[in-house]
Symmetry: C2
Subunit: 310 residues, 2 copies
């Protein structure tokens, strides 16, 4: 029987990724929407999660695509109404709140899936397998994109709990923690935080894992050559995972990979977790980010204005 | 047989607390010191942890009292030399580094003890027992002290990873997490960070646990009435744990407690953990602090100078 899914939040990520993925994956279907100010044709729509849960007792699974701030209350409402729950990344504004959700889901025998979509990019598994048999020397992450292009009007990313440049950066860290057996530890972190923001617009992390140095550079001010790459050096050659994990070059050669849709893989996994009565809650990327904040040297930098002519 | 302890770091906390506690507790004795620039009469002294470990194979347990920055390398050296380890609070600069230590100790069958000395204050157990049978309404923490008086010359507290006012504040949070069954989650946090510091000199945390609001106010600028108190309101009366956990008032009445030395209780526990081949690693206070940093609204405030006439 197909799993009926209620989708909460109908912003950019929901429209670009969640709707087409749910449509494409066997065994799941979209059954209702909760959104303050948007609906979809031919689908029941509710202004908030509470009314969706109350009026749709047959919907046993909810996918939350709202910004992280305020999502805990929605997530807890879903679990307390005994529905399975899939959380868009990041799974929360704090580590402790997601641990509370994990405990609540376990107590009720519900499936909780904290997703990290970049881990499902086409070449990530291949990179992990390539690295597994080799001795690591170093990893360098470059994650540079144009915030104005990808996050227009999203003021929540600049507010406390919005993660700033770690909103994309946590995608790189989610791949990193999938590639390695140890969770890295943050040795030091340098933040550049706009004068009018609570979160960094750029960050450098020096980390260590398996005894080797790992550097990450995140920058949201890139207007020229955007880059989402992880460069891995080993005693037996180098490889670069780029395009956000979609492509792997070993030496100079691009490796063949199957085309994969990150979000299709997420929904297929969620369907399987629910069917098997299991949860998948990996908080290591969020713990790394919390550690970076805990350990940060912050440098104030120019105020950020979305309209650069304003 | 008495447990021989090597003490690393001979700063203020080691001299004020660790030395007399080791002296007073049955079944442990101080066998050597590692300190860059200090020794004790009639005791072997080493300039660093590595030489102590190399020259004292009979010392099976180490207590680290150095500042948190740089302590991971010392701690890992201890574990990799197959010695049991007790860590002064905070157990590290990041959550992930302490998890790595926990995993290393487990792999080697060693005892790791991440201490929270304020949990051993005389009235904390009594407060927990009193609260256990009651319905909680709210908790308010006031932790106000004079940093110049308690931390003279300690520049590391202002550097990244030094925690700032959370250095004392984490003591309150360690009591809080002992009083409650749920780990609280941080709803919002406000930091005041001196212009010349990487860490806050004052902070307000709004938290929630068991469905009730918990507020903490930490301030390191108190020159008048210092205060280390936790005020607990229930549907069945109120209680105040003050003097950093040493005294409990229920209604207006101070409760009788045994005199306890926090650090004596820690060393007795460490002795028992080693004897039983067990570890005690509770990271919930540090995770709460990391969440507060992750979630913080930071307000720059006046530069801090230890000599106010400077």
């Amino acid at each position: 029987m197909s799993l009926a899914i209620g989708l909460v939040g109908l912003g950019a990520i929901a429209r670009a990724q969640h709707l087409p993925a749910i449509d494409a994956v066997d065994g799941v279907h979209l059954a209702a929407i909760a959104s303050r100010n948007a609906t979809l044709p031919d689908l029941p729509g509710y202004p908030d999660i509470e009314s969706l849960l109350a009026e749709q007792p047959g919907i046993k699974a909810i996918s939350l695509c709202t910004p992280p701030q305020g999502r805990f209350e929605q997530a807890m409402a879903v679990l307390q109404a005994d529905r399975h729950l899939m959380l868009e990344k990041p799974p929360g504004t704090t580590v402790c709140e997601v641990e509370r959700l994990r405990d609540e889901a376990a107590r009720r025998g519900l499936s909780l899936f904290t997703t990290w979509h970049s881990r499902e990019a086409a070449a990530v598994d291949l990179a992990r397998d390539w690295l597994a048999g080799r001795e690591l020397l170093t990893i360098r992450i470059d994650w540079r994109e144009d915030v104005r292009k990808w996050h227009p009007g999203q003021t929540w990313i600049w507010q406390a709990g919005g993660l700033g440049v770690f909103d994309p950066g946590i995608n790189a860290l989610s791949i990193l923690t999938k590639l390695l057996s140890d969770v890295p530890r943050v040795l030091c972190s340098d933040f550049e935080t706009p004068a009018n923001s609570q979160t960094p617009i750029a960050a450098i992390l020096e980390m260590e894992a398996q005894g080797v140095p790992i550097t990450a550079q995140f920058d949201w001010r890139e207007t020229g050559c955007e880059l989402w790459s992880i460069h891995i050096e080993t005693t037996d050659g180098a490889a670069t995972l780029d395009q956000g994990g979609a492509r792997l070059r070993i030496g100079g050669t691009v490796q063949p990979v199957e085309t994969a849709s990150e979000y299709q893989r997420l929904y297929a996994r969620f369907r399987n977790l629910v069917a098997q009565g299991q949860s998948e809650v990996d908080l290591s990327p969020l713990r790394l980010v919390a550690d970076a904040f805990l350990n940060a040297k912050t440098r104030p930098t120019a105020a950020f204005h979305e309209d650069i002519n304003a």
